[in-house]
């Protein structure tokens, strides 16, 4: 027999990551005040996941032991070629930068799994001892992506008070469609250093005050790789007396017109620093408009496809962000710092695929926020009263199955027929209007204790349908009975779990504030580490997802939209070896991190 106490002996899931990052550069001074610099940044990552489940483990329940190993090797690099020009004429300072950059990302993977492992200690290392019939899956793959860019930037600065930056960049992304890969993104910014002005000279508590105004366009090309190519998948079809291998298109049709999503943003900001740097921060207001959004669009399934990725419509967004950092106490041994952020945002859809036409299948509606819920509007529970019975009879004559104790939804067009065409409405937005973060860090010598609080406010979510009788472990529900007519949830009834259309209409405000992370760390003294040529050794323990400080719906983890809390205490250590040499203008820097 097996039991949970011994489970740790019988199932192993081991993940190992090795990452090597490098940063190399060379710089040459050319005539006329021009500098040339080349950067090279390789990034190598190797990930291995092995699992072994003994036949006595809970998953295998005495059937044959299984094991698998999968390897992923990612390699990416960026090469920058930069030309700088800096000069100063009296109070005028001019800087210009030209950049050519290319990056490539390659991911290679392979995996194999089998069952019938005879020697437990071999785990996933002895898959070669299995027969081909005992191998359950095998796969390998390659994905590649490239980005090429050219950029030009000019900085101008008058008397260190007035600053101007103009830039333009051309980006070409390999994953976009032929002829749509390249786009131009200009930007401009002006800033005014008020603290440099003579009229603020005698304000002694002010260290820095800067007003910024900027406008710029940025691009987004984050689509699934190869989605402009029309992938095919292998299918096995019965043919004649046996089976044959055929190829079929996937459910997502390729879009050979797919291009960049572009966002143009205006922002106005104030950077401040008071009391010798003890308090500093930024207030920023922005307004942006996004064109050609990259969205997955539903297609009528009779076309043979259920979706495609397309550049759709136009949206606008506006918001205010506030960041305040404060070093409340700063002594040689003890310090306490606070970092607080708060942001308010609101987005809106301006137009969609065919102009001002709603896209109901994708729940996109002109004038509404981008992420909304669209469904029947729950307005209560039917009661066993003569008035409700009379109403229900009218609905039930048109095919509804209402009864006392069941959910009552609003008949929007008043025809006593609950109908998907007429009676669904936009219930509310699911993206929070307010987000906030609050970090407190206390440190004493090498010991550091920090806690991170975060919150999201003003949004709705489907907060749990409360289907009685559907789940093995059901939270206690306030459900309707003839004696409890004011209940929140409907009465239990047969076939409720199987397809009651309205059981899922419990959409509510789902705001929350939680303690995301508490960490306690110890940094080993450098004089100790220097002897063993270790750059840095930090030992720490974290409590992840510690718990809710406050939430609207206390039975769920609203951040992850689950009915359970995934809490964890994670002890870790990070060991960094660094080799750093600087010879005149040439530099090399490598960093290796091994995590297990």
């Amino acid at each position: 027999m097996w039991n949970v106490i011994d489970e740790w002996k019988y199932s192993t899931n081991q993940r190992e990551t090795l990452r090597l990052l490098g940063s190399l550069f060379a710089e040459v001074k050319l005539p006329l005040g021009i500098r040339y610099r080349m950067n090279f940044g390789p990034d190598f990552r190797f990930y291995r996941n092995g699992y072994y489940n003994d036949s006595k483990s809970i998953v295998r329940e005495l059937s044959a032991a299984n094991a698998s190993i999968s390897n992923t090797k990612d390699f990416s690099y960026t090469i920058d070629n930069l030309l700088y020009y800096d000069n100063k004429f009296g109070a005028h300072t001019i800087g210009a930068t030209l950049l050519q950059t290319a990056s490539k990302w390659t991911s290679e993977s392979s995996a194999i799994a089998g069952q019938g492992i005879q020697v437990p200690s071999q785990m996933w290392y002895g898959l070669g001892n299995l027969t081909s019939a005992q191998l359950t899956s095998w796969s390998s793959g390659l994905t590649e992506r490239q980005l090429a860019s050219y950029m030009a930037r000019v900085n101008y600065n008058y008397g260190n008070k007035y600053l101007l930056t103009l830039s333009g960049r051309w980006d070409g992304a390999s994953q976009l469609a032929e002829g749509k890969k390249w786009a131009f993104f200009p930007s401009a910014a002006i800033a005014w250093r008020l603290d440099q002005e003579s009229f603020l000279d005698n304000v002694s508590w002010l260290d820095q005050l800067k007003l910024r105004l900027g406008v710029g366009t940025v691009g987004n090309s984050a689509v699934k790789l190869y989605s402009t190519k029309g992938a095919i998948t292998q299918v096995t079809v019965p043919f004649g007396t046996g089976t044959e291998t055929g190829y079929s298109l996937t459910n997502a049709v390729a879009n050979p017109e797919l291009g960049w999503e572009k966002t143009t943003q205006y922002n106005l900001a104030v950077d401040f620093s008071f009391l010798k740097g003890r308090v500093n921060g930024t207030i920023e207001a922005y307004r942006s408009s996004t064109k050609d959004l990259l969205l997955t669009v539903a297609l009528p399934s009779v076309s043979g496809f259920t979706s495609t990725i397309a550049n759709v419509g136009e949206t606008s967004n506006r918001g205010i962000e506030l960041t305040v950092n404060s070093n409340v106490i700063e002594n040689s041994d003890f310090s306490w710092s606070i970092n607080a952020t708060a942001a308010w945002q609101r987005d809106q859809i301006e137009s969609l695929m065919n102009g001002r036409e709603d896209m109901v299948a994708d729940t996109l509606f002109i004038g509404e926020q981008i992420k909304v819920l669209y469904d029947y509007e729950r307005i209560g529970i039917w009661q066993d009263t003569p008035e409700d019975q009379a109403e229900m009879a009218l609905f039930n004559a048109n095919g509804s199955q209402f009864a006392p104790g069941k959910i009552k939804v609003k008949d929007q067009n008043g025809d006593y027929r609950i109908d998907g065409n007429y009676d669904r409405v936009v219930i509310g937005n699911t993206s929070p209007q307010w987000t906030m973060g609050f970090t407190n860090t206390l440190s004493y010598k090498g010991i550091e204790l920090s806690a991170f609080l975060t919150g999201r406010l003003k949004f709705i979510a489907g907060v749990g349908e409360g289907l009685t009788g559907m789940y093995g472990d059901q939270r206690q529900l306030d459900y309707w009975t003839p004696d409890n007519t004011g209940a929140e949830y409907q009465r239990p009834f047969m076939s409720e779990a199987g397809g009651d259309t309205y059981a899922f209409t419990y959409y509510k405000d789902d705001s929350w504030i939680k303690i995301r992370n508490v960490s306690l760390a110890y940094q080993l003294p450098t004089n100790l580490l220097d002897k063993v040529k270790i750059n840095s050794l930090r030992v720490f323990a974290q409590i992840q997802n510690a718990g809710m400080l406050w939430s609207r719906n206390n039975y769920r983890d609203s951040e992850y939209n689950t009915l359970y809390f995934n809490r964890g205490i994670i002890p870790s250590r990070v060991l960094i070896f660094q080799a750093c040499t600087t010879v005149r203008a040439f530099g090399a820097y490598t960093e290796a991190i091994l995590r297990r």
């Binding site: 036949s55 295998r60 005495l62 059937s63 044959a64 069952q115 019938g116 005879q118 019939a133 005992q134 539903a298 297609l299 009528p300 399934s301 009779v302 695929m353 065919n354 102009g355 036409e357 709603d358 896209m359 109901v360 299948a361 067009n413 109908d419 998907g420 065409n421 007429y422």
Partner: protein, 220 residues
């Protein structure tokens, strides 16, 4: 296609075709050719199918295990700790026990003596229950019964009954659970709301609620 004198040509066609093709062809041709097809010819054509279901002399009727053979060599079934497949495989069915008949290997004959006026007893019982009388209705009923025996469990039944407009009468006679609910509209299924929502007019305009309602099948 079926000719009206189905002596040799028809037989050759059916021998080479799959069972679904045969039965579909019979239904299609039976409906169009009925007017000129002598009743006895229709029975002849049907018997080409029926004769395949007869037991031959010496045939062990409990030897047919539907799908059971697959389990014997199923590579997805779990293995025990000795690496042997775990299954409860049995290579016999319960034909004799279930039908409560003595074990016999005698040949059967289910084709002789069938005429449009005198169909097999099981089919006559169904015809009586459904209250059918015209030769066409009796023969269509026989045909649908035969099709259900041939294609049992292959998920063609709803479509067969819906397109021959026999769904309601059969469901009401034989499906006590659906009598209260089944209606004329069930000859068509509802178009999914997700489909109606994803449709656009030729000019790129989304369908209005009224247009969606008009596109939906009647009664839904």
């Amino acid at each position: 296609m079926l000719t009206l004198k189905p002596s040799s040509g028809v037989e050759r066609y059916f021998i080479r075709a799959s069972k679904e093709e045969c039965v579909n062809q019979i239904i299609a041709d039976f409906r169009t050719a009925y007017a000129g097809l002598p009743d006895a010819e229709a029975i002849t054509v049907m018997n080409i199918i029926r004769v395949r279901a007869q037991f031959k002399a010496g045939e062990d009727r409990a030897a047919y295990r539907d799908g059971g053979a697959a389990v014997l060599t199923n590579s997805n079934a779990p293995l025990n700790s000795a690496g042997v497949l775990i299954n409860s495989y049995c290579n016999r069915n319960s034909y004799y026990e279930s039908l409560d008949i003595p074990v016999t290997t005698a040949a059967t004959d289910i084709t002789t003596g069938i005429t449009p006026a005198s169909l097999p007893a099981v089919d006559e019982a169904i015809i009586t229950t459904l209250g059918l009388s015209s030769t066409f209705d009796r023969m269509m009923c026989f045909l649908l019964n035969e099709r259900s025996r041939e294609l049992y469990g292959e998920l063609y039944r709803w479509e067969d009954l819906a397109r021959t407009k026999t769904l309601l009468s059969r469901a009401r006679a034989y499906n006590a659970g659906s009598v209260a609910n089944i209606q004329e509209k069930h000859y068509l299924r509802p178009l999914p709301q997700t489909f109606l929502d994803a449709i656009y007019n030729a000019d790129g305009r989304a369908l209005t609620a009224d247009e969606k309602a008009a596109m939906q099948n009647p009664g839904y």
